[in-house]
Symmetry: C2
Subunit: 381 residues, 2 copies
């Protein structure tokens, strides 16, 4: 069948890698003529010895304010707190230091500023992104995990009233600049570092296996898989090796490129979101548990295509589901729902929620209602 | 050694592939609100039964003018002719149908329009690109070869006064939209089709082997090499197979992505430009002849890295220089300078010119003056 598609590049985003943040950040700020900036980060990085102090020093006389304690799953209240800080007269940039939750909050805060959203409830207005004014001010992201949230034009934010996560979208929502300095990841707990790495593997694998991949997504997801399958186990063995950590960061960057140009991911992401919403499970852990079983479910329709990734992992000839399972085990991460705190009687509730997720429709093998969904979940349990 | 770099995406460019031009072109013109367009093409495509008539029909009442007979190597006079046609009041787009020379001419004509360049000599002004106003109007490219000139922000134009080729550059010089319809390549002479394909292999190989590759260039050049090594020989055997032709076009697209983000190519491109300038050799043929010998020369410094491409060609374990030579032979293309019309006594002149080319400095193994250069050329002779 002839390939068919339209490639439209995502928003322009600069990525600086391998240069220490103490050099890269002042340079970026000068280039953008930034004289006033707000720092946004989570609680652990503001502990004594955490990196937020270091970034504050690098910001030097450009530093104006810090918004600390951004929580997991990005509650709306945190978004609104950042937006309030950005409203100060002449604030020209926000620097986000942290994992996915921090950058998601900073992304969302920028369209709150430009659309005059002042409280959590008012965020509802931005759910129809077509009416939203472009985000401001500049956003510079210094990631500390491998979640790849830095690269997408979406912000996933939790509505505290209902516990539901909503996705806010604007074509220019992704950070303007991403600085990949592996030294900034050294305080990240190993389980978080490695499991977000498996999340990135999940991005690459489900993009590669997508129903409508593109030349760009194929090139980048294969690169990402080849890199991450090799470097994540290395990073576990040698956690202080910055070169390996940077290679993981680059793998994560490439893993999501297909998504940034609109390639849809499948059931592992769809079920993962249900597990996060209902069980509060971290996205990386959902990938550890679900990806092998989704691959096994899909193998009858795309087993041939999966082979290239087993090869990329240096394990040609073995089913990709087994390869992923083995790597998750090598990383010391959970591979069963029961080990991740899910009681068996929750499975029907999870199945029901997952079936409503739009990514299930994008799965290569159709998930035929509750029966199929429960079978996948039971296998993973 | 730690990877280090800055990724800045090139100008936004839309690529539509696999959709017939009769569908894709009207859609693009509507999206850009184009009501008046100029068609630019070469002599062969305006012959009876050539595709220019078909494109004129697709343009329908948007068609205003045609500039025919764009010559090889893009002489300045042709650029100026296009610019004159684009100056008509309210002209909103130029459609370039043809190979590298046609699209180079259309690219250059657009900055002539916006910088009020009205004759060939006046083009000198644009050699300092920093002062040039952005190109207009929209440029839509329908390529008929695999040269990949559609994707770069440079236009290579011959100064008829001296025979020297100059490169005009503007960050937004690349066409706004590229339409890859393999049916539009069916009239391209096979030797031109296949040799521009080897040119694209040369882009991918020298980008992969560059001294400072990037994650993006690695991902895309590996994809391109893997695709083209396989599909070019298939396209020779089955010249009417549109699916294979499209795969070649996609390989060509990916082959040049590293260059569009600033990765430098090496000696095969550098020597190739000297051969084109002095001997009038087609760029694709220079790649057929020179690439294997440049790879052999470079093998002592990057032989390990070259191995991945032999593997991508499905010929793991064989030196890449031999692999390229074999594929060029399978394609029925010349592999020696003497078979491409170069007399042995010209080699010193070519060596002298090549040594001045900036790409020689970007070659992975330093080319130490005339002795090294002559050795490469003699091996290729």
């Amino acid at each position: 069948m002839m390939q068919l598609g339209r490639y439209q590049p995502p928003s322009r985003q600069t990525v600086i890698y391998g240069q220490p943040v103490a050099q890269a950040l002042p340079q970026v700020l000068s280039e953008h003529w930034v004289t006033q900036a707000v720092l946004v980060t989570n609680t652990s990085l503001t502990q004594p010895g955490g990196f937020s102090e270091q970034i504050q020093q690098v910001l030097a006389d450009r530093f104006r304010n810090i918004v600390k304690g951004i929580r997991e799953n990005t509650p709306r209240e945190d978004v609104v707190r950042i937006a309030a800080a950005l409203r100060s007269k002449g604030m020209e940039a926000v620097v986000a230091l942290g994992g996915g939750s921090v950058v998601e909050a900073a992304k969302a805060a920028r369209i709150c500023v430009t659309n005059n959203v002042r409280d959590a409830a008012d965020l509802d207005r931005l759910l129809t992104a077509t009416t939203a004014a472009p985000p401001r001010p500049y956003l510079i992201s210094i990631p500390t995990t491998l979640s790849a949230a830095e690269y997408t034009p979406d912000a996933c934010v939790t509505d505290e009233r209902t516990g539901v996560k909503h996705v806010f979208h604007h074509p220019d929502l992704a950070p303007d600049v991403v600085i990949l300095d592996p030294a900034m990841t050294l305080l990240t707990p190993q389980r978080l570092w490695l499991s977000t790495g498996v999340r990135a593997i999940n991005h690459a694998v489900e993009t590669w296996c997508a129903m409508q991949p593109t030349p760009y997504s194929d090139a980048t997801s294969l690169y990402a898989a080849r890199t991450l399958f090799r470097t994540l186990p290395q990073s576990k063995t040698a956690p202080d090796d910055l070169e390996i950590r940077l290679a993981c960061q680059i793998g994560s960057w490439m893993s999501i490129q297909g998504v940034t140009i609109g390639v849809s991911q499948g059931a592992s992401h769809g079920i993962g979101q249900a597990l996060s919403s209902i069980m509060g499970m971290a996205p990386g852990i959902t990938s550890c548990v679900m990806l092998p079983h989704v691959l096994r479910f899909n193998a009858p329709v795309n087993g041939e295509r999966q082979k290239a990734l087993s090869e990329a992992a240096g394990r040609a000839g073995r089913p990709l589901s087994d390869v992923v399972e083995e790597i998750v085990a090598e990383l010391g991460l959970p591979s069963r729902l029961r080990d991740a705190g899910v009681a068996e009687e929750m499975l029907p509730t999870i199945a029901e929620a997952a079936l409503k997720n739009p990514r299930i429709k994008a799965n290569p093998r159709p998930v035929e209602g509750e029966r199929d969904m429960l079978a996948i979940l039971e296998a993973a349990w």
